[in-house]
């Protein structure tokens, strides 16, 4: 599904990612953990194609294609989805309007017919039912005036509607209370399928009690310093990030 090799990336001439290697297969959930400033969010932005980041070395293959050659919308078209850590407010545009256009863009990529507003509402109802949410923010402008928790939930709603192949979730837990965190985690779990994969970026182990990862990678200073099974997250929780910052201790 996703194969990252020796990925280096910089912003404003400052190198943030210093050689990332990572492989994610269909059906898997991978967690990327790491202290603040380790490059977790940069990795997600680089994968989605944020124009401010410059890839200076390495390669990323996504479903057999060179991801780095694609525009952000072409990446989405191939089935990549990024849930933003800080979702952007889009004034004047309702969630329903935005989701319909985003879904139709996705359907076009797959050679499917575009949905009219009526048919779209049926699809939306079905997706909301899948994650067991009501339609309370469907007709509000995208993220405008949303609480932190609502913004995160809204990203998961998009995930449900767009059904990507690979979802990169950038700190979907940050700023959430335990109930909101459970809601978001349940949404992610319900959307899990054998043919899709999730890259979950988080600072805290807490989220991984609710979304059980197949693999955990620890990112420090722009490199993956160690990888392991879900127990690695627990080890991090008890020992703290200082433990992985010292490569000798890890090995």
């Amino acid at each position: 599904m996703l194969e990252i090799r020796n990925l280096h990336a910089a912003i404003d001439g400052k190198e943030i990612l210093k050689g990332i290697d990572l492989t994610v297969e269909a059906g898997e959930i991978h967690a990327i953990m790491g202290p603040n400033g380790s490059g977790k969010s940069t990795l997600s932005q680089v994968l989605a194609g944020h124009p401010s980041y410059e890839v200076t070395d390495g390669s990323v293959m996504f479903r057999g294609q060179d991801l780095l050659q694609l525009e952000p919308e072409e990446r989405a078209c191939k089935g990549l989805f990024l849930a933003f850590q800080y979702p952007v407010e889009i004034r004047g545009i309702t969630n329903a309007y935005f989701l319909r256009h985003a879904l139709n863009a996705r359907r076009k990529c797959e050679g499917l017919e575009e949905l009219d507003p009526i048919d779209f509402l049926d699809v939306l109802d079905e997706k909301l039912a899948t994650i067991d949410w009501d339609d309370s923010f469907v007709n509000r402008p995208v993220n405008e005036g949303f609480s932190g928790g609502e913004k995160k939930r809204n990203e998961i709603l998009q995930l449900a509607v767009l059904t990507p192949k690979l979802a990169v979730l950038d700190e979907p837990d940050s700023g959430l209370d335990i109930d909101a965190l459970k809601t978001v985690a349940e949404g992610v779990n319900k959307l899990r399928r054998p043919d899709n994969a999730t890259l979950l970026i988080t600072h805290y182990q807490r989220l991984l009690n609710y979304i059980i990862p197949d693999r955990v990678h620890v990112l420090v200073n722009g490199r993956v310093v160690t990888s392991g099974g879900k127990e690695l997250a627990h080890e991090l929780e008890s020992k703290g990030y200082d433990w992985v910052k010292d490569p000798v201790a890890v090995n």
Binding site: P72, E73, A76, F81, G92
Partner: protein
């Protein structure tokens, strides 16, 4: 050159008086004489004047526009079919090239006591009490275009709603400029009077059906009595070479509420002065404005909200979208008079520049002479937000689609304040088609 043109208008005025074309009562003639005197004294606005400095009026000032005599209603250049394109209210007062069209108008469904129709026909009618309302609040000494309108107006829409009467459906004042019109000026004059506790909705539409070099110079005076509730939606969709100047002057009584929306899409050059006076305690007004300009269009909105009494609230949001080499201007003046305590005034001006050659000038002006007030204002000018653009692209929209959606959202925020579903949908579809690049026609400054 401009002085010469002013002389032409003075001579037109003298001809008008001698021909006694309108046959208005003496009190009206007095108002007109004072207005032409004022106009001759000050001439057209100069960009050296602070209030007018962002707009160059030379294309209007250096040409002698002839007051349109309109058309015989039998030979109206606008067919009933053409006149009905777009959104139309069932109740409407229609003017073609400045002349009232009884055939196109329809005044059914008005409640008992409410009066609506052509102002010219009712000006001498004591029951309409126009002497107390016409040219009472729109000040000729303040604005040369208002002076010129006051000197030359002949027709316009009148709506008078007595105390306690509610008018249910919207009443449309529809001004159509036919495709033939060239170098002609119309001076529409509208008066709306709502008595105590009265309610009404007015739609003011200025629509060009062709691309002539015409000029519309309108003045609208609106009185909302104590506890009256009024909604006014104004749409400027003049032809691409047209000039449009206008003053909207509103006075509100105690506990009245006024919802005002104005949309500028058309014309080559437009200037609209919108003045609200909150003259009774507890009055509320909301002003929403949208300009969407392309090519070399220029639109200038100047608003003044005057809090003359305590406990009044004003909410003002103007959004401008400027494409190509267009130029938008917004000046938002909020004046809080001494003693107008507990004033609550909010103002925002958001301006989106879609190209490097588009330009926006925005300036809030707060003049506060009371100490227990809450006044906030904010103004932004800039291109489409890169983070929002990336957000939408990452979800699958192309860069063009994302830009169009962000632009649409910027505009629809204002259009959504229109309380009439049919009109809102019409404005939405006009906007949507304007946002599609291929609908654009090459346009120079022909006039």
């Amino acid at each position: 050159m401009a002085t010469e043109i002013v002389e032409h208008y003075l001579s037109d005025f003298t001809d008008q008086i001698s021909s006694d074309r309108t046959g208005f009562p003496e009190w009206v003639e007095g108002i007109r004489r004072r207005a032409i005197d004022r106009f001759v004294e000050v001439g057209f606005p100069s960009s050296r004047d602070e209030k007018w400095r962002f707009t160059n009026f030379s294309r209007i000032a250096e040409k002698h526009f002839v007051v349109s005599n309109g058309h015989d209603s039998r030979s109206s250049p606008v067919s009933a079919e053409d006149a009905m394109v777009g959104w139309r209210s069932p109740t409407k007062i229609v003017f073609v090239d400045g002349r009232y069209s009884p055939d196109l108008s329809s005044l059914r469904g008005l409640p008992q006591g409410a009066v609506a129709g052509n102002l010219a026909a009712m000006i001498g009618d004591d029951s309409t009490n126009l002497e107390n309302h016409l040219a009472r609040i729109a000040d000729s000494s303040d604005n040369p275009f208002t002076a010129l309108n006051t000197a030359f107006f002949s027709e316009g829409a009148l709506l008078s709603v007595p105390d306690g009467v509610k008018v249910n459906g919207p009443i449309q004042f529809l001004y159509l400029t036919s495709s033939e019109t060239n170098d002609a000026v119309n001076h529409p004059r509208n008066v709306v009077v709502l008595g105590e506790g009265a309610e009404a909705t007015v739609v003011e539409s200025y629509i060009g059906l062709g691309s002539g070099c015409s000029w519309t110079n309108a003045v609208t005076e609106i009185y909302a009595g104590d506890a009256a509730h009024i909604r006014v939606h104004r749409v400027q969709l003049e032809g691409k070479n047209a000039f449009h100047t206008a003053t909207t002057q509103c006075s509100q009584g105690r506990d009245s509420s006024f919802f005002y929306t104005t949309v500028e899409f058309g014309g080559s050059l437009s200037r609209h002065d919108i003045n609200f006076q909150l003259n009774g305690t507890g009055a509320f007004c909301s002003l929403h404005g949208l300009s969407h300009l392309r090519d070399t269009q220029h639109a200038d909105n100047q608003t003044t909200v005057e809090h003359a009494q305590p406990h009044c609230t004003s909410v003002e949001h103007f959004n401008g979208i400027y494409d190509d080499s267009s130029h938008g201007v917004f000046t938002g003046r909020v004046l809080v008079r001494p003693g107008a305590q507990k004033t609550d005034a909010i103002q925002s001006s958001r301006n989106l520049l879609l190209t490097d050659t588009a330009r926006a000038d925005t300036q809030p002006q707060l003049e506060i002479f009371a100490d227990d007030v809450k006044c906030t204002h904010g103004a932004t000018v800039g291109p489409i937000d890169d983070e929002a653009l990336f957000y939408l692209r990452s979800k699958g929209l192309t860069a063009d689609e994302a830009r169009t959606m962000l632009t649409y959202g910027f505009a629809v925020e204002i259009i959504d304040t229109v309380g009439i579903a049919g009109l809102r949908e019409h404005l939405d579809s006009v906007l949507t088609s304007r946002l599609e690049k291929e609908t654009r026609d090459a346009r120079g400054e022909k006039c």
